[in-house]
């Protein structure tokens, strides 16, 4: 990994991805009420998601609530079994591993959760919380105290506070504790599931900076799951935009933000307010109507067509038929990067 680490990951052809996800599908059963609880349908949470994560790279996975981004993260880590598809981490297939076998994999693949209040055990001191991964993996010994202090410094916390309990820390500090715990086993890759969305902005900035520094110093790969495109623009090298269980657009960061090709990406970007009064007043908004359809019965063909401004305003009757009948594949259509739209066209939004 170190040999190839100097190259920018996104363009490094020939670099082996640390994590390779192919056609990942996760369905949750819907059961009937009553005693028997027959299965009456499926929530299509993740439907055929594929991506690669390279060493030292941050891949942003963005989308609105219910689009399946968190489920993707959890299924990659096998915290939930995948319905189908393949997850290859450092050359090993994870989907057919037992939970015991997964344990050794998780030394190299860790997760940081969104809610720093729910993810730390309130009855353990933070020293014990951060040391727990070491205990689980049988690495806890008399030198662990030094290791704890080092980890605390690494995430910008005072090592003297190790004997305190989670409630004695602020939200930002708790998230740092969660990050220290994830780093305790010196993983190669981190899944960051909305790591800063529960924090106030002035605190959030510190945690974002910390994540960037840790990546530079420890050579980590991040799968950064977020709903906030502004944070993703700041931290990610490549960005995958998800909608209703599918990736609709995947591109390098500058490419995606300068030349978004999928109507959903364009609408999402134009909906995000910019803290600049003049720019904000002059901006043209692409307002999309309605709400996300239920993932229990996603629309046929293109899943975004029910809300798509292009479908509603620009396409002819014949063109629309294709959106209804044929599902657009995530391929390049001359925009320089893949977008899952039959009629993908670059439009500058920002």
């Amino acid at each position: 990994m170190t040999a190839t680490a100097e190259q920018p990951a996104s363009t490094a052809i020939g670099t082996e991805p640390v994590l390779s996800v192919r056609d990942l599908v996760k369905h949750f059963p819907i059961t009937s009420r009553g005693v028997i609880r027959r299965k009456i349908g499926d929530i299509h949470a993740v439907c055929g998601v594929s991506f690669d994560l390279y060493p030292r790279e941050t891949l942003g996975l963005v989308g609105e609530s219910g689009c399946g981004k968190s489920t993707t993260g959890r299924t990659v880590l096998q915290l939930q079994p995948a319905t189908s598809g393949s997850v290859v981490f450092q050359g090993q297939e994870l989907t057919d591993k037992s939970s015991k076998q997964m344990r050794s994999v998780r030394r190299d693949l860790q997760i940081v959760f969104q809610d720093p209040y729910a993810s730390l055990n309130p009855r353990m001191t933070v020293n014990d919380i951060v040391a727990e991964p070491l205990r689980i993996h049988g690495l806890h010994d008399k030198h662990s105290g030094d290791k704890m202090r080092e980890l605390f410094r690494l995430v910008g916390l005072n090592p003297e506070h190790g004997n305190r309990y989670p409630h004695e820390f602020s939200g930002g500090q708790r998230q740092r504790i969660g990050i220290a715990r994830a780093l305790a086993l010196e993983p190669k890759a981190l899944i960051l599931d909305e790591p800063v969305s529960a924090l106030d902005v002035s605190i959030q900035a510190g945690v974002v900076n910390l994540l960037e520094e840790l990546q530079d110093r420890l050579g980590l790969a991040y799968l950064f799951i977020a709903h906030d495109l502004s944070v993703v623009r700041h931290i990610a090298d490549r960005v995958a935009v998800m909608y209703l269980g599918k990736i609709v657009e995947l591109a390098d960061r500058p490419e995606l933000f300068d030349r978004p090709a999928h109507p959903y990406t364009q609408a999402l970007m134009s909906a995000i307010p910019i803290p600049d009064p003049v720019k904000e007043r002059e901006r043209r908004r692409i307002v999309i109507r309605g709400d996300v359809p239920s993932p229990a019965s996603p629309p046929s063909g293109c899943r975004f067509r029910t809300r798509c401004p292009k479908f509603a305003n620009q396409l002819s009757e014949g063109e629309r038929e294709r959106c209804v009948e044929e599902e657009p594949a995530l391929i390049e259509r001359g925009q320089g990067h893949p977008a899952a739209c039959h009629y993908a066209a670059v439009e500058k939004v920002l």
């Binding site: 900076n209 520094e213 009064p277 720019k279």
Partner: protein
């Protein structure tokens, strides 16, 4: 608490040189303000001590104006609004004055307050799931809101007005949907219903407390559009409370920045965003990752955390986190004083040093990732030292 506060506000009055000293802070509305808040304080006695949630808020709201109130969690922005419409629990101790068209609302018996609430001042809450009654159809709830204030309106008329309102806020098939219950709507649709409820009695003031925080961004854009439509329709003034500086930039005319229960900056959106004169506002703007930034280098967080509102030390509550901090900051709490602009106020002893700068002063906050300022330098410059080498200085 009252001692530094009264002296602080007295200072501010001197600065504005307004004859009506009692209400001079930060308003341009003159005599025709619809809502005038003066020296509002709210204390909550708790087992651990008295929480000074709001420590002297004053503003005046002109008709049709949109005032954005921004601040982080715990800055007192929501409590201020709840105090205005009298929805705080009885344990809360409220002082100061809130005048709606000249009528004092603080201390008003609940019976009289009910006439103001909903009819003259309407409120939109953050969570549309909990602000609607789950066991009544939404049309019924809107009609009830109308008939609560206008007994002379017939049930049928109220119901048809409810349908009109639902159509206005963009609910498709309003006539049929009026018979639906809240759980049959999505979050965005529910918030539209709440906006329709707020508009029902043509209020003069709508207080929207984080109306879009629980919603996705694409839905947020729809709701903000609806809110602006509601304003045009009712000509109400809006107090928009949010932590999102982007939302305020697009919608508000003026901004009030709150920190630790007090306003620390007040001015037009352009003044506050382009010429901030209080280090906290500067820090807040600098810590935002921006969608329109091509290559933002490092974010500049504000070190530390907001103070506890139980035992506030004397002096400026922001001083422990402030890069401009000097001796005077720990001794005396700065008043909200007029700064360079006519209607631009900032609460900082050193805002004059920021005045010469055009635009947002840079380099005030450092792009650190640390969270405590202890004796240990936590992060040497990127890539310089391996983590195993321990403390550096």
């Amino acid at each position: 608490m009252s001692r530094p506060l009264t002296s602080a506000t007295a200072d501010a009055h001197g600065g504005t040189a307004a004859p009506a000293a009692a209400t001079a802070v930060g308003h341009e509305a003159g005599g025709d303000a619809v809502l005038r808040v003066t020296d509002l304080t709210v204390d909550f006695p708790t087992d651990d001590g008295v929480v000074h949630a709001v420590r002297g808020v004053s503003y005046a709201l002109s008709p049709r104006e949109v005032l954005g109130i921004v601040g982080e969690s715990g800055s007192g922005k929501s409590v201020t609004s709840l105090a205005i419409i009298g929805l705080l629990p009885k344990t809360a101790r409220i002082t100061g004055s809130v005048r709606f068209r000249g009528e004092e609302l603080i201390g008003l018996p609940d019976k009289d307050m009910r006439k103001v609430r909903g009819e003259q001042i309407a409120m939109i809450f953050q969570d549309p799931m909990t602000s609607l009654n789950p066991v009544y159809p939404i049309g019924w709830q809107i009609a009830e809101g109308i008939r609560a204030h206008h007994r002379d309106v017939s049930r049928a008329a109220a119901r048809s007005r409810a349908v009109d309102l639902l159509a206005l806020v963009g609910i498709p098939h309003p006539k049929e949907r009026a018979a639906n219950y809240p759980h049959e709507f999505s979050g965005g649709m529910r918030q539209r219903v709440v906006i329709a409820l707020a508009m029902a009695n043509d209020p003069d003031v709508i207080i929207a407390d984080e109306p879009t925080t629980a919603l996705d961004v694409t839905v947020q854009a729809q709701i903000l559009e609806t809110l602006q439509k509601a304003q045009q329709e009712t000509s109400a003034a809006i107090v928009l409370i949010t932590h999102d500086l982007g939302v305020v930039a697009g919608v508000a005319d003026r901004v009030l920045v709150m920190y630790a229960g007090k306003p620390v900056e007040l001015g037009s959106v352009d003044d506050v965003y382009y010429r901030p004169r209080m280090p906290y506002s500067i820090g807040l703007l600098g810590s935002l990752p921006r969608l329109d930034a091509v290559d933002q280098d490092r974010l500049t967080p504000i070190a530390g955390a907001p103070p506890s509102l139980i035992n506030l030390p004397p002096g400026c509550p922001f001083s422990p986190r402030c890069p401009l901090r000097q001796g005077v900051c720990d001794d005396e709490e700065p008043a909200l004083r007029q700064t360079d602009g006519q209607a631009h106020y900032a609460a900082c002893h050193f805002s004059h040093t920021l005045e010469s700068e055009d635009g947002v002063p840079e380099g005030l906050f450092s792009a650190t990732s640390a969270d405590f300022s202890g004796p240990i330098a936590i992060m040497p410059p990127t890539g310089a030292v391996a983590p195993t080498e321990g403390p550096q200085s």
